[in-house]
Assembly symmetry: C2
Homo-oligomer: 768 residues x 2
Amino acid sequence: MSRKAHTLVAIFVAIFNNMAVSQETNADLASFVSPFIGTKNMGHTFPGATVPFGMIQLSPETGNQPMYINGQYNKKVYSYCSGYQYNDSTIFGFSHTHFSGTGHSDLGDFLIMPTTGRLMLEPGEASNPGSGYFSRFSHDQETATPGYYQVKLSTYGINAELTATERVGFHQYTFSKSDSAHILLDLMANIYNYDDKNVWTFVRVENDTLITGYRQTSGWARTRTLYFAMVFSKPVKSYGHKKYDQSPYKGFWRKFNESENFPEMAGRNIRAYFNFMTEDDEKIKIKFALSAVSTEGALKNLQAEIPGWDFDQIKGLVREKWNHQLRKIEVKTHTLEQKESFYTALYHTMLSPVVFEDVDGNYRGLDNNVHPSDGFTNYTIFSLWDTYRALHPLFNLIEPSRNADMINSMLAHYDQSVHHMLPVWSHYANENWCMIGYHAVSVLADAAAKGNTSFDLQHALEAAKNTSQVAYFDGIGDYMIFGFVPEDKSASSVSKTLEYAYDDWCIAQLASFSGDSLTASIYLKRSANYNHVFNHKSRFMQPRLSDGSWKSPFDPLQTHDQGFIEGNAWNYGLYVPQQVDSLVSMMGGKAAFSAHLDSLFTMHLDDSYFEQTEDITRDGIIGNYVHGNEPGHHIVYLYNWTNEPWKTQSRVRMIMETMYGAAPDGLCGNDDAGQMSAWYIFSALGFYPVCPGSPEYALGSPMVEEAIVHLENGKDMHIIVRNQSLKNIYVKKVLLNGIELKAPTINHFDLIKGGELEFLMTSKPVLK
Amino acid sequence: MSRKAHTLVAIFVAIFNNMAVSQETNADLASFVSPFIGTKNMGHTFPGATVPFGMIQLSPETGNQPMYINGQYNKKVYSYCSGYQYNDSTIFGFSHTHFSGTGHSDLGDFLIMPTTGRLMLEPGEASNPGSGYFSRFSHDQETATPGYYQVKLSTYGINAELTATERVGFHQYTFSKSDSAHILLDLMANIYNYDDKNVWTFVRVENDTLITGYRQTSGWARTRTLYFAMVFSKPVKSYGHKKYDQSPYKGFWRKFNESENFPEMAGRNIRAYFNFMTEDDEKIKIKFALSAVSTEGALKNLQAEIPGWDFDQIKGLVREKWNHQLRKIEVKTHTLEQKESFYTALYHTMLSPVVFEDVDGNYRGLDNNVHPSDGFTNYTIFSLWDTYRALHPLFNLIEPSRNADMINSMLAHYDQSVHHMLPVWSHYANENWCMIGYHAVSVLADAAAKGNTSFDLQHALEAAKNTSQVAYFDGIGDYMIFGFVPEDKSASSVSKTLEYAYDDWCIAQLASFSGDSLTASIYLKRSANYNHVFNHKSRFMQPRLSDGSWKSPFDPLQTHDQGFIEGNAWNYGLYVPQQVDSLVSMMGGKAAFSAHLDSLFTMHLDDSYFEQTEDITRDGIIGNYVHGNEPGHHIVYLYNWTNEPWKTQSRVRMIMETMYGAAPDGLCGNDDAGQMSAWYIFSALGFYPVCPGSPEYALGSPMVEEAIVHLENGKDMHIIVRNQSLKNIYVKKVLLNGIELKAPTINHFDLIKGGELEFLMTSKPVLK
């Protein structure tokens, strides 16, 4: 734990009395959230202000790294996927959109930076003081709580405070007396920035307090336009902008001095500034609304969400929103750190997908047209290769209505897709095609399997089927021909085959729920395709070529060129969640499978296997088990399919203890849009959805002492853990409403009836 | 007259029986229109297919000139303002938007080119056969009539036919048998093209016949996006595109082979192609709809305007639309060539402004938001420095409702303008700021003065006042301070001062009509500001400096740096239409003024005075009178304010005879969005609006033998010219309903009562 985390703990101890969980609590659970967790190293979380599932993530930028230097990829940029690195001591400003925990990036829209003194429009370099507008800062003068961020910008003596509603960022800057105070609006700032990322910028100074405009970028989202409306609490004294474009054509705009006090700015690359005079301790506030539809939409959002100027009131309302969300699961833990880890994880599961429509229900679709979200709320940021595993299952447990909205958003995406595909990895009305598979089908199947069917099942099935038949998508054509993806046709072929097979199983489930038994049988057959990449000789999933032969040489520890992505045959090869029993027997039966798992967790992996992958650090690894990458997330629960479920119990507790911590470096890898945190929430409660699309959870070993999950159906699920301690990590027995469970699984429908789930813990493995 | 024009005449003679004008006529007046007129030299008209005031101008591109070569302006580009030059023998394709007659350019959207054989995606150079996809063509195999264009693309043996409705272009290509027929969609083609003009392109192949997408450009219109929906009559066999972008970032799109049969294309610079197999004489048809709102809007437009596939039916309907429009003025002329000149001029007055809204009434506003056009039809392309002079006055005569729609469009522009200004020169939801003054106020005043008040007068007055007070606009701030624009502060200061003074007079008129006498008196005072640039010593309008002194040296024949634009002190200095009497007396009285005019028309101007101006040719000049530029358009009528109105009569006939002709080179300068043609229409009818904003017309010498103007109020104005001939160019007397007019003026309200205006002609000047 870092020094900073210790400070946090000291603060929290004062308000943390290890109080019993109560259904009637008004506990300020937000006080157990530290948005700094994951901001050091590769967690890729952000400390800024946001509401649950809000479109605005108003957060500081400490990274000013270009994506390319002299045409070469700049590796440093990866650290700044969410804009902030805890080890930094400079801030370049505050922008309004950030991913939480992703392993690739974009966004960072509309960077605001308050300064005083000589006007500097370029950000400069952190390593070169005075080279630009950036400010120094210190963590001692920085606060981050749910929905609120504060930092003293020491270079300018400005105290910056941020809060946000769903679509509006609220800035409050306390200046010293100055006749040259500036608010910069750097429209060239981007996360994952490079020279031609900005496509177009358009800004209007509507009057001396209202600015509107938009920016179009081409990055991870290839065709993205974001509109804004920005209001100052005080009239602008003067303003201007600098354009960095080199076009030979100026049109008749050359007739004007556009750079100063000219109310219309347009171009690819623009930085604007607004000048003020300030008194000592004078606060200049900014309300900054976003819309993907229009500036008109942004203005509507602004007026609807923050009509007034009371910063503290909004800050308070936002904290209450967070408490309302966090109270969905109330826990008692053994240590304060565990509680902080838990609620910060819960917080991190609520940062995406985000609401993606204006207050009037209009949103921009994948087809670039504007649509009304009739009958649902539209969401975006679907990091589905990550989040289908535990995040959407978590939503099915604690937020089924919201998850149904997300599914309806995916179906709208499908309707608007020229490929007739559900989202793969989508954000801001764009498909970015990141990672493999089409795991939206898992989200559909999981919801259907858990009775969360506030969407059109037939439509969902049609969407799932069409998605699975787009021949030009990532090896699918060959998969349909060969029954596996041949490595010579499409790389990462084993990962793809395994995931397509699982996705096929999900489609089969959807078909069953829809009463379409023919489709169900077709896809059930496809779902066994994992067999085609299993080499019975080596007992590994291995890449195959289109002539049917196994690719050689073969190294089961290697990721690259060996048929896998973010994993290898040893770990990723265990991905048959839909038929674990079958996998176990293919691999030689329970004992052999257990031994494989043991080896996985204990083997020594040479450094050379890691250096190629930028988002794994040694911290996130146990042997050849990589918790920082998602393909392993179910693995620890696979001992349940052997005779040694106690190994699941010990490993899951070990992972919770060592891979999650209440400190800025508390995440061992990218939080991946909440998936890492959702894994933690489930595991901390004692169960995990090994196979989304099935209503069964695998039981593990809970971290909590007690928990109440307030369900949307009005019922409460009470988890009571007897004899819990850091040493009593083994489960002696589990009782559901007093009746002992015979197998290490529990059914979703049993859970959501409410009642008591009781774990009896012990310090010794319970052998079968 | 060219050989081609002779051919046309031969055709027309067959159907031209010098028939008497009749109110009941069903005459095919479209047969007297030759869209080729003005396509040779600097007329800048286009020969392609369009409906009256339609958004689509589907026309061939013979110019493939970049705007810059090695960073230097390429003068040749100017010849291709409308894409076509009659002397060319190659065609690069057919694009959907063109200005008619403008002296600067933009548009050229969505170029379609049919080819066969080896696929070539680059246009190549006309001078280098085989270097690209262009085709040779010959005027012998080319036809242009209102709403229809046909050409044989000899390189490919393809017969190309085009027609269009308001928002949809209709292509019909007749191929020979080919297994490699292509339809190219060159999204990099632009008029006034340069490397970074394309901002973004987005294309979706929705299915095997429907393509949608948009393109965003930054040119004369700085922030312009145009959407399309395109349907083929036959399924595409295969397709693809080439992207010419150099971005280092490819995103995860690198996973696909995007270039072939991949249904989504996006980037700055794209050329797409669609492959077909064709039989002999097989027709492939394309319907290509535009929208400035969305692809959804374009699709709506397509479905509403051309639901079927009958090319000839649409071609016929469009011709009937033209006939309906052209029949608003029926004329009998002495020669066929005069009739062709007249109806082609009338045709050219109906090519802009164009309808700029979707069939559902939604349009994109200047603020980039989408608005419904409640209560009016929205128009764009306002070349106001040109068109306020005679084109809008012509509309007030023959199309007052449409002119009111245009005014309401201008008021919407004002409402959406961040500058709180009426349009200066606007197109496609952009202000391009071309030329000087803010002559929208003249259009408002002229409509009000003529009782065409289907708009909110108070709103119009507010808009006019605010427009006239935007201090940062083109010298207005100094104009308000000094009472003139000082040349050391803002170039072309005399032109600006004269036009601002006239505009002030228009605002005074508007204020009077609105009953706001205070504003009227303020602006009436401002309207006398022309006095401040009149040097009583030299008797010239001269540039002044901000210290009050006259700029020296002064050359009254020079344009550049002498206070003028597109004119000099000799001709532009005569611009005081609101107080011609006062100008006459300032210049020494009627005789001196008349002598000045005589000199103007007879003096020899050294070549050096012309070479600087790209849009004037010697053909468009009589002495120092430049008919090809608008500041002179009223001058020929100024003899009416002297004792020698007969000189107006002879000069106006001379100009009609020498500056307009029924041949491709029939326009002596840019048609300027119909202004040159509107001058001709008025003059041909025998009167002209010297001072728009006043209901008085100055009488000239009619070209027609007889005319009936069918007015919107249901009445007919009958113009009868007795003793008309090419020699009888002088007016002996003019009778209105049998009563002789005493002065050489006629009032608009007298005209629109209907009845007879009778000119008695003679071969001798009628001296006073």
